[in-house]
């Protein structure tokens, strides 16, 4: 699973899929992203890095540290992939998200946001999907704001526990799931 076309094909088959990023998982019903990894683009002076979703945090940290830069969010387990962090985090992570490339439940490749720090064109889908736990779309690429090491450290504190949301709120989440994954492929 290391090209966009193959990922799209697999999703288009319409079988229920669970997105994971783990080399040891390679069986029916799982979409393993660990082979879809690497830096797509990185210019230190832009304070922006674009990564394929399967890239491990420890690899990103190593690349950034060559330029005295770092990820400005909390991450205890550096074995995790950036896609996994994206899927399970909250605003303290999404504050640094600038853009995202996804494949929706119908196998379409979509791009939201971009690679610049300021961008208010269109709804903020790249931050909306943070925390979606792989249930709405397959995230293939993420663009992040990064910071110099000494500044980034200020933001690497553990996030507060989350609160349950209202049933009306959940109704809207369900409606949004319908938009990205109308056939219910991602479980």
């Amino acid at each position: 699973m290391n090209t966009i076309e193959r990922l799209q094909q697999k999703i288009k088959q319409g079988d229920k899929l669970q997105i994971v990023c783990n080399d040891s998982v390679d069986k029916q019903g799982f979409l393993n992203m660990s082979a879809y990894c690497g830096v797509v683009e990185y210019y230190p002076e832009e304070l922006v890095i674009t990564l394929k979703a399967g890239t491990k945090i420890k690899e990103i940290v190593a690349i950034l540290s060559e330029n005295n830069q770092a990820l400005p969010f909390y991450c205890q387990n550096q074995e995790k992939s950036i896609g996994g962090i994206y899927a399970t985090s909250g605003p303290e992570f999404s504050d640094n998200v600038l853009g995202v490339q996804i494949i929706n439940g119908e196998g379409k490749l979509l791009n939201f946001g971009g690679q610049v720090i300021k961008n208010v064109a269109g709804y903020d889908v790249s931050r909306l999907l943070v925390g979606s736990k792989g249930h709405l779309a397959l995230v293939t690429e993420v663009s992040l704001k990064i910071l110099p090491q000494r500044t980034a450290e200020r933001y690497q504190t553990e996030p507060k526990p989350k609160n349950k949301v209202s049933s009306l709120h959940l109704d809207f989440e369900k409606k949004l799931k319908q938009i990205f994954d109308p056939l219910g492929v991602f479980i």
């Binding site: 832009e46 005295n68 853009g99 208010v120 910071l147 110099p148 949301v165």
Partner: protein
Amino acid sequence: MSLTSELIRNLPKGLVMVGSEATRPFECDGLSAYKQKPLAVVLPSNLEQIKKVLEICQHFKTPVVTRGAGTGLSGGAMPLEGSVVLGLSKLTRIISIDKERQVAVVEPGVRNLAISEAVDQFGLYYAPDPSSQIACTIGGNVAENAGGVHCLKYGLTVQNVEAIKMLTIDGKELSFSRQDDGIGMLALMNGSEGLLGVITEVTVKLTSKPKIARLVMAGFSSVSDGAHAVAEIIKHGVIPAGLEMMDKLAIEASESFAKPGYPLDAEALLLCELDGVEDEVEEELKQVVDLLSAATTVKISETESERLLLWKGRKSAFPAVGRISADYYCMDGTVPKRYLALVLEKINSLSKYYNLRIANVFHAGDGNLHPLIMYDAGVDGELEKTENCGNDILKFCVEVGGTITGEHGVGVEKLDAMCIQYGEDELKVFHQIKAAFDPDSLLNPGKAVPSLHRCAELGRLHVHNGELPFPELERF
């Protein structure tokens, strides 16, 4: 019963305005090139009244345009034909301030600067500072995800909002917070341009005021030298509180208007503000000055009044340009910083092609450009020519991997440009998000996202991410 008589019957006297004269002050926002009178303007003073307005508008299937102070620059608060303007400027209560947690809960009509003024006594302030901060409201700031001069270090609105409450078109109350379990609904509401709900309360994050701030001004004999200095400063690990650049025309206009002492022989001017605790600022100051070897002039503010004077020139750049031209049109594209000089070159060639003067003011630190295209609305066809020139600039911003709007929003102004930025599939998702919250499309309909039909008519193709049209360019 008509819509207006229902509004008048159900709301206290004086809150509903109808007729050409009474609604005229609301016919446009900060983008005065576009004007439209609404059916009525309602200025409610509490939540129940807002609910009543929405109920009546929903019943009559009448569009609602929510408005803060009307300072927006993309027509987001411009009335639509036959619409009701829901002005929230009377909801100006600061509900609570928690100086320990560094948050304040405010009504949507509270002015941006009023928040900072109210918490100044605790050594705190609200960081995002759009240039209209003296007048613009926090509700409008959230709706537009407003930016400002200090975004690179302190974030945009979305990073400075803790929670919001909003009403859906059918009057249901929703609240979104940074502590919510689940997807980023709060982030979605920031910058949703009044299309998804009516914001009724905002909890903002407050920031500790820096101990000191110093400003470095540097003049350069070329724009590329200035742009190179910007990249060097950031590459060396300095995150300035503000990093602004102006071109020659903007320098001249500002100098003759505010007399801050800018070097008139410079082709580009850089303003770099460093703030924080004293030791840190001194160290960064040395670092920055060392990196300005290509500058022809370097000046560091020694006193607070000197710092403010140097800023005054930059902050009055827009009115200064207004003085040398009958009208001007402000663009808002953002580009990767490594293309700043190239984009400016392109803007200069477009200026010659269209025979329109363009002054350039950049938030250079985050690559956000504000070209000011000067024109005369009194001359037939000049506005159209200006808009074409503006669209060409935005197209180029997208081509180099940037965006059509960094902080002003799409509104009515950049609907065509949205067809360049996004493809049909992404636009469809935007329309579906709108429909999930507002199925009858009554909240600010037609703004922010162009119809697929409109884009098809324009016949414009968007540039796909990752397919840069200039692979041959040297990347510096």
